[in-house]
Symmetry: C2
Subunit: 334 residues, 2 copies
């Protein structure tokens, strides 16, 4: 299988992207990687490998670029060309650690949606305290969502969890402000009814305070709420760690004790680091499009490649397509 | 001034409620407290005091009661009678650590709204890492909100912060999924325009990841999002502390080091404990109605009483009423 990777996206591009790609071709003998970006800069880090090719381009989308406009105007940007490789059938999937909005636009305009999917969903795997993690979608591909979109998110999330994360019969929860059925707003109340009747292991409403405790394997929500909750989790965890650091360096005595605990604390911080769980998939597109974390190092890129490879191997896209088609047929019959 | 307090609400009622009330009458010579609840149980903890009276009732609203129905049917419940004291002019404000939904219903149906206020807002003060805290509203009094409601929340929050929290010209932020003006959903985009033109120190959109860093003094949002973010902050902080505890007890060496750090860690946990910041006001009612935390101890009840006293002393209700009236007149002229 062939993966197109935007070599210029992310805080540590192209070095860490190239290193991650080299690590991946060593680990997986069935993948071929196309690195898209500035050939000279890429070659500074790339050791020749017969399963890595470079597609040169000077253009790049910046983190500060307005996403939709950038994708439309910078047709030769490394990210857009990586997506184009997929659209042209020259790659089976693409990965970028660059501008999230621009990657969503590239996915939508260049790769295209699966027939029957109204809205793609950005779907990261977030940490839980038991280290198993959970999938949350949508975290911001679309700010407004209808109940039917949440049903599609649930189906896509369940397929991904089963096929790629290896969770049999994954528990799907609807993110809400209470567990009782009548809780929430119009959207959650209507979505609940749809989800209850869907062919998934729906466990009802889940509350945001229980997410890190592993309340569900797949957590479904609209993009506005999902983005808000994602950023709240990140921000709260970071703030607590910052306060912890201040507390642990407040006196010589504290510093000495903290030094003893350092390995435990680093391990703890890593558990909360969701770049360990691979990238965020943009589900609902005609091929896997994966957003790796902006601060990705070689290891995160390697994880994203492994994840993408499993999505292809297990034909997640094909399964989503068939399931949505079946669902639409059933709905038509009703 | 007179405060009616539901002596039967909360996990540690009536003991901690009574102890908190006794502490408050010692500290503040200008308050008179009416404890509403089971006289026999209250008297087990109450030392006679000429500024504490007991209003007896057997009935009580439980945490499991359906809020609106409970308030309508249990007319003699301690919480409802406390609100009735306010409605009858026998108390200036009321406090309860009981069922949040029932207290909101009591506030709305028994105490009543300020003229011109469409929706009351539940408004807790949450912790920041610098210990100053920020006010967030609404966190769940109303799941759906219109842009005009968010404007009213902003005005009420700014008045409260200035008068009770002593913050001159408080910074008001709109909770959103990005800081750029065009970010967000229909509600945030429309609210942003209203807030920009309001007579407050509006600083624009703020992101949930920056809340604990003190991004704003007053954070305005709809009740669904606010409740979601509140519970995410609580849940994430608790989960991180739980993981920390596991890490610190993983070996004998860790345990010894952790023992040295215990005072620092307890202090850290207390900074994150928002019961320290008093109760959550239900803003927009004809008198202060304060929800103390369900797990309130005597100290939290004391904080809630001090806060309520300052709301009365600074006539927060009157100021909100006048400001909203002026705003409505200005709107009519446009």
């Amino acid at each position: 299988m062939k993966l197109a990777i935007d070599a210029m996206g992310g805080d540590h591009a192209p070095k860490e992207i190239v290193l991650g790609a080299m690590k991946a071709v060593e680990a997986f003998s069935d993948i071929h990687i196309i690195l898209v970006g500035d050939e000279t800069k890429i070659n500074e880090h790339l050791l020749r490998h017969d399963r890595i090719t470079v597609l040169h381009t000077d253009e790049v989308i910046l983190g500060t670029d307005e996403p939709v406009r950038a994708v439309r105007r910078k047709k030769n940007a490394s990210m857009v060309l990586a997506a184009q490789q997929v659209a042209d059938g020259k790659a089976d999937a693409c990965i970028s650690a660059g501008n999230t909005g621009a990657l969503m636009a590239s996915g939508l305009f260049v790769v295209g949606r699966i027939e029957g999917i109204d809205r793609p969903a950005l779907s990261p795997t977030l940490p839980t305290i038991d280290g198993k993690g959970f999938l949350m979608l949508d975290v911001g591909a679309n700010v407004d969502a209808k109940p039917e979109h949440l049903l599609q998110y649930a189906i896509m999330g369940a397929i991904y969890c089963e096929k790629v994360r290896g969770i049999a019969n994954p528990r799907v929860g609807l993110l809400n402000i209470g567990t009782e059925e009548k809780k929430g707003n119009e959207l959650t109340r209507q979505a609940l009814e749809l989800l209850k009747n869907a062919n998934i292991n729906f466990i009802g409403n889940v509350e945001s305070r229980d997410l890190l405790e592993g309340a569900a394997d797949v957590v479904v929500t609209d993009g506005f709420t999902g983005n808000m909750v994602l950023k709240t989790i990140e921000g709260t965890a970071l703030s607590v760690f910052k306060m912890l650091k201040t507390a642990l360096t407040s006196s010589l005595k504290s510093k000495l004790a903290a030094a003893v605990l350092k390995p435990d604390l680093v391990k703890l911080k890593n558990t909360m680091d969701y770049s360990e769980y691979g990238g965020a998939g943009l589900f609902g597109l005609k091929a896997p499009v994966i957003k790796a974390h902006g601060s990705s190092n070689a290891q995160s890129i390697f994880s994203a490649i492994r994840q993408t490879r499993e999505m292809i191997e297990n034909d997640v896209t094909g399964l989503i397509e068939q399931t949505i088609k079946k669902l639409d047929t059933e709905m038509d019959k009703m």
